[in-house]
């Protein structure tokens, strides 16, 4: 693992930075999708993998970010770049508000309620609430990226935008893991009762995890809206949430595992297009097999980043 972290990540970043120049435009689009869905899966990992909350509604926040950007751009004429702060904030606020009343629910109940949020969200979009979501067709004809009057229409620009968002997300995840908050989340995932008894305010941390995950997913939504210059409800259906949920658990809630998961789920089907109708049939079997063979995921996450000053008391003290 150490060697992987030392050389694996820089190598991965260099490859991803050079990648779009080696691909034609169709594969560039696939690569952008890969980056966006990786960010969403990582945001899902904050609630599901890192904090152990059964959240099966992440597509809601992804969609909310996409729709925030689309509505601000299309109805109010904001440039896409300017919509980013709100596309992060609005889903994050909704994440906090929605999580508030439900985080105390036991695992499976939480799962169903988050599915419910996702389905209500899609129904709101389809019924065109307030006349701004565009109904079942969604909103199309969004502006392309522009930055201080420099117009970045090319797909390459979207790719690097998505790549930048992925790098930011990875940075946030890395800092989270090293921080007090990250340790609190990890502890409450391992044993909520014990976490509470040593004075961790589990409720606050759970809500925080929801808000953070929602904000990151919202940002990914902006990139998604930019890539297609359109948004529509079916991209944020609850089946998408199921896919993100499965990717995190099959991957093992670690960054390499999630990358593999997203690759298998969204890139392989593009390579084997002739098997499109068999796609989910095969995935279903693969999910069962992966869980039976590796119940903790393909690359199980290790939580080893405990700062040195805490380890002073001796090796046995912490783990």
């Amino acid at each position: 693992m150490k060697a992987l972290q030392k050389f694996g990540y820089p190598l991965f970043f260099v490859i991803m930075a050079l990648l779009p120049h080696l691909l034609d435009s169709r594969w560039q689009a696939v690569a952008i999708t890969f980056l966006i869905f990786t960010v969403v899966a990582l945001s899902q990992d904050i609630t599901l993998g890192k904090s152990g909350m059964f959240n099966m509604g992440q597509a809601l926040f992804f969609g909310m970010g996409a729709y925030t950007s689309a509505i601000l751009n299309h109805q109010f004429g904001w440039p896409i770049i300017a919509t980013i702060p709100l596309a992060i904030l609005i889903p994050a606020i909704f994440g906090v508000l929605l999580a508030g009343p439900i985080v105390h629910l036991r695992g499976d109940y939480l799962l169903v309620v988050t599915i419910g949020f996702n389905i209500v969200f899609v129904q709101v979009l389809q019924n065109n609430l307030g006349g701004i979501t565009g109904g079942p067709n969604g909103i199309f004809g969004l502006d392309s990226l522009s930055f201080f009057s420099v117009n970045l229409t090319s797909q390459l620009a979207v790719y690097y935008f998505a790549f930048l968002v992925l790098l930011l997300t990875l940075l946030v995840m890395r800092n989270l893991e090293k921080s007090k908050t990250g340790r609190a989340l990890h502890y409450l995932r391992e044993d909520q009762l014990a976490a509470e008894s040593i004075g961790i305010n589990t409720r606050i941390y759970k809500i925080f995890a929801f808000g953070l995950g929602a904000g990151i997913a919202g940002l990914a939504g902006t990139v998604f809206a930019t890539q297609y210059a359109a948004v529509s409800p079916e991209a944020f259906e609850f089946i998408q949430s199921v896919l993100f949920f499965s990717i995190v658990l099959v991957g093992g809630s670690s960054v390499p595992g999630i990358l593999i998961g997203v690759f298998v789920m969204f890139v392989l089907p593009e390579i084997f297009r002739e098997f499109a109708t068999w796609r989910y049939f095969i995935f279903g079997f693969a999910m069962i097999a992966a869980m039976i063979l590796r119940p903790r995921g393909i690359v199980p996450a290790t939580f080893g980043k405990i700062p040195k000053f805490l380890l002073k008391g001796g090796k046995d003290g912490v783990e």
Partner: protein
Amino acid sequence: MDIFLQQLANGLTIGSMFALVALGYTMVYGVMRLINFAHGDMVAASAFVGLTIYTQVMGQATSLGAVIVIFLLTAAVMACIGILLERLAYRPLREAPRLSAVVSALGASLVIQNGIMLIWGPRMRIFPELVPQVYWDLGGVVISLIQVIILALSLVLMIALYLFVEKTRMGAAIRASSIDQDAARLMGINVNSVIALIFIIGSSLGAVGGLFIGLYYRGITFNMGWQYGLYAFIAAILGGIGNIPGAMLGGMLLGLFNAFIAGYVSSTWADAFTFILLILILIVRPTGILGERVAEKV
């Protein structure tokens, strides 16, 4: 008043279908603490299996005897698939972390759903008219023979299941296993056969539910399992998951609620209202209406 009585009749019909399907969820959850996500797709599959038995095996006969045979055969086929599902997808994961079994259930759901699509095609199929179209007009309220059959048969099945679980030795084994599997094993109960039994009962009740859905709505699609399964699952949670009378109560309640929303408000918002009801009930009673308040195991 007419709308009220009409929606009451419709609600009881839909509710009894929800309840039949919800029983499958709740029984599996009660013993295994697992949301069997594949159950909704099993229900969808049974409508298609029933369709094929009707055309291929029964030669499109619609006599009373033939209909009974179609129901029994479909239930038997689905019971076998249920056992197979448990053996292949759930039994290897009984000692694994709980979320692994959830992912396996989601995988099984995808396999069954897309299996239906690969066998019967992606387009909507029309379920045969097994029951004659007879309607009675009771002073402005129209009730069909199908509705009466669905309601009556569901009630009979539910009462039979309730008596089976409460009054027989095997029922006692099911109850014991759902309280504590290890203790049940120590008392000489074969938990593996209890779980197999639960999958047989749950899948056959689901099969009847699936055939009812076909009879009542006529159009069946390969992906309808998510929709009906989710509603039935909500019904199970409303009543208190793991609780058999709770699933029946939850199913009826949800059916009536849906019918009245469709009758008085708007059917385009039915899903949203259903989930708002669920969320409100869970905020007030976190373990459902009849669910006992259990402390999380430490």
